[in-house]
């Protein structure tokens, strides 16, 4: 079964990889890049928020740091992949610097504490770097969307593989034990803080890479933009609507979210948030497993009849 799943995943990946060779429409490619970035970001949030059950509302800080460092190094002449790795490293370093303190907080306090952290970073970047960041003309002249697409695809695949590995690993099981009952996990010998920090490192490394891909993809934006809380909120919405703490949830959620967002944006800006806000509440109250659980229930019903 698992082998069949890996094979199916590889087929999907191969099909997605040839898309830029066949499809020449920029709007479709842009839509796919956005979806892939959303999958990466949501999946990275899912590690700490879903598997370890710690709702991190400051996730944008790590995405933003990745974007800031990557953009700066890349424009200065560093190869983009090296710049992205440096960006991820800075995001992880920041995570380790604040993680110990932040993980002293439990449940909702962790959520509002990280929210404050994210805002501190956003406001500081906004104050120190108020100028818009635009790619140099020479870079724009050689800009190819397909390269960005493959990069985003590679990252999304990396994030999905990382979470697939995590779900079956000792680390993943320990995280789920922490999520279900922290005291019980601690007393059965799970090193709670160490595991949480490991999860945070994995999560923020992926978020930093996603930020780097954003910096490589977007031609012109304010340096504080990737630090905006909406990046966190998108990741939370997507993960919960898809199915929090599952491998397929963030993928399903991201496709659904970006599709509806782009479709609705044609007529009403931001209207998707009204729908997704309401959907999110409904899922928290009535269907904590999200779309993945809804799908499983549906399949069971079909099989039974």
């Amino acid at each position: 079964m698992t082998a069949a799943r890996w094979a199916a995943g590889l087929v999907v990946l191969a099909l997605l990889a040839v898309v830029p060779l066949v499809v020449k429409r920029d709007d479709i490619l842009n839509f796919l890049v956005l979806t892939l970035l959303t999958i990466t970001l949501a999946q990275s949030w899912n590690i700490v928020g879903g598997y370890a059950g710690q709702v991190n509302l400051g996730h944008a800080a790590f995405f933003g740091l990745g974007a800031l460092v990557t953009r700066t190094l890349w424009i200065a002449g560093t190869p983009v992949l090296a710049a992205m790795i440096a960006g991820a490293a800075v995001a992880v370093a920041f995570a380790l610097a604040v993680g110990g303190a932040a993980f002293r907080l439990r449940g909702a306090y962790f959520a509002i504490g990280t929210l404050a952290l994210g805002e501190i970073l956003r406001i500081t970047v906004n104050n120190t770097l108020p100028e818009i960041s635009t790619l140099p003309m020479t870079t724009i002249a050689t800009y190819r969307l397909a390269t960005r697409y493959w990069l985003a695809l590679g990252l999304a695949a990396l994030a999905v593989i990382a979470v697939a590995w995590l779900a079956g690993s000792r680390l993943g099981l320990g995280l789920q034990a922490i999520r279900e009952d922290e005291e019980a996990a601690e007393s059965t010998g799970v090193g709670v803080l160490r595991l949480k920090l490991l999860a945070l490192v994995l999560s923020t490394a992926l978020a930093g890479l996603a930020g780097g891909a954003f910096a490589y993809y977007h031609i012109s934006y304010y340096p504080s933009h990737p630090f905006g809380p909406h990046w966190t909120f998108d990741a939370v919405l997507v993960t919960f609507i898809g199915g929090v703490g599952t491998l397929h949830g963030p993928i399903l959620g991201a496709v659904f979210y970006v599709l509806l967002k782009e479709y609705l944006a044609i007529r009403w800006v931001d209207f998707h948030l009204l729908i997704f806000g309401a959907l999110f509440i409904a899922i928290v109250l009535l269907l904590p497993g999200g779309l993945v659980e809804a799908g499983a229930t549906l399949r069971r019903l079909v099989r039974r009849s």
Binding site: V55, L57, A101, A102, R104, L105, R106, G107, A108, Y109, A111, I112, G113, L115, A116, L117, E119, I120, I123, T124, N126, N127, P229, F233, V236, L237, F240, W268, V269, D270, F271, H272, L273, L274, F276, G277, A278, L279, F280, I281, V284, L285
Partner: protein, 290 residues
């Protein structure tokens, strides 16, 4: 730098009163229901647009519009309690707080999107005929509208204090906050006390929004900022005393004014958040205790 400090301190004190009022509603809801409504800032935003609408459409004076906005927000609060937050009060405390955070988060997004639809994303404020009136004392300029807001905020907090101390249901609310099981056993309708506390908290948010829209400005995206301000004040002041909350608001206003003078205006917001994070981490368990 020192020359502007007294002026900054006065302005900080004036907005601090609103921070206190904004926090009072959230503190009441959190203290009584053990529900953390992170959409509190969006409720403040709605109250502000209520006053804006009344002023723009029928010329109602913003201070007078409190009479309409507060009851309307109390009704809205009841509806929100019935439809959303009332569902999760049956969970035990930790799950309850976490779920309320998620519901508040969804509500905040939805209300923000709704406000953009209704009033566009533009920043607005209510400009009355007396908007520019100031008094000058010893070289310090005090905008009268903001001074009136501070006084009103204090009066509303005092009213709430009286309500909780003297009114039959106010005492029921305090009993439910202290120990809901004991309250239930003495025959108090805890669910109704919860409903009343949530409705009152929403009404206070509405009042804060009205005062923000007249002395300052509102836009659909002010919600997060005001939620954070209210949370910072609660962390500073703790739960339980409404006058303590008001004082916490004044302290935040002054801290912001000082940091804006020392580090420069843009860092006004950062100081409160840093205090918030440090206090939160230093006292992770006993934080929201009395």
């Amino acid at each position: 730098m020192m020359a502007v400090l007294p002026q900054q301190l006065v302005l900080g004190l004036l907005i601090g009163g609103l921070y206190g009022l904004a926090a009072a509603g959230l503190s009441l809801v959190f203290g009584v229901l053990k529900v953390l409504n992170v959409a509190h800032g969006e409720l403040i935003m709605l109250g502000g647009y209520g006053a804006f609408w009344l002023f723009a459409l029928s010329g109602v004076d913003p201070f007078a519009s409190l009479v309409f906005v507060i009851p309307a927000m109390i009704v809205l609060g009841s509806v929100l309690y019935w439809s959303l937050f009332g569902w999760i009060v049956r969970y035990h405390e930790e799950t309850r707080i976490k779920n309320s955070l998620l519901i508040g988060f969804g509500l905040a997004l939805a209300l923000h999107a709704l406000a953009v639809r209704l009033w566009t994303a533009d920043e607005r404020s209510i400009t009355t005929s007396y908007a520019g009136a100031v008094v000058e004392i010893a070289g310090i300029t005090i905008p009268l509208v903001r001074l009136a807001s501070l006084v009103l905020a204090f009066a509303l907090i005092g009213g709430l204090h009286l309500l909780l101390a003297r009114w039959r249901w106010g005492r029921a609310i305090r009993a439910a906050a202290d120990d809901w099981e004991a309250a239930l056993m003495t025959g108090i309708d805890v669910r109704r006390a919860y409903l009343l506390a949530f409705a009152l908290g929403t009404g206070l948010a509405g009042a804060a929004g009205v005062l923000v829209s007249v002395g300052y400005s509102i836009s659909p995206s002010i919600g997060l900022e005001w939620t954070l301000k209210a949370l910072i004040v609660i962390v500073l002041a703790g739960l339980g005393s409404m006058f303590g909350t008001f004082a916490g608001g004044l302290v935040l206003g002054i801290a912001e004014a000082v940091s804006a003078t020392v580090f420069g205006g843009p860092y006004r917001e950062v100081v409160g958040l840093v205090i918030f994070f440090v206090v939160l981490v230093a006292r992770p368990q006993g934080l929201f205790a009395k």
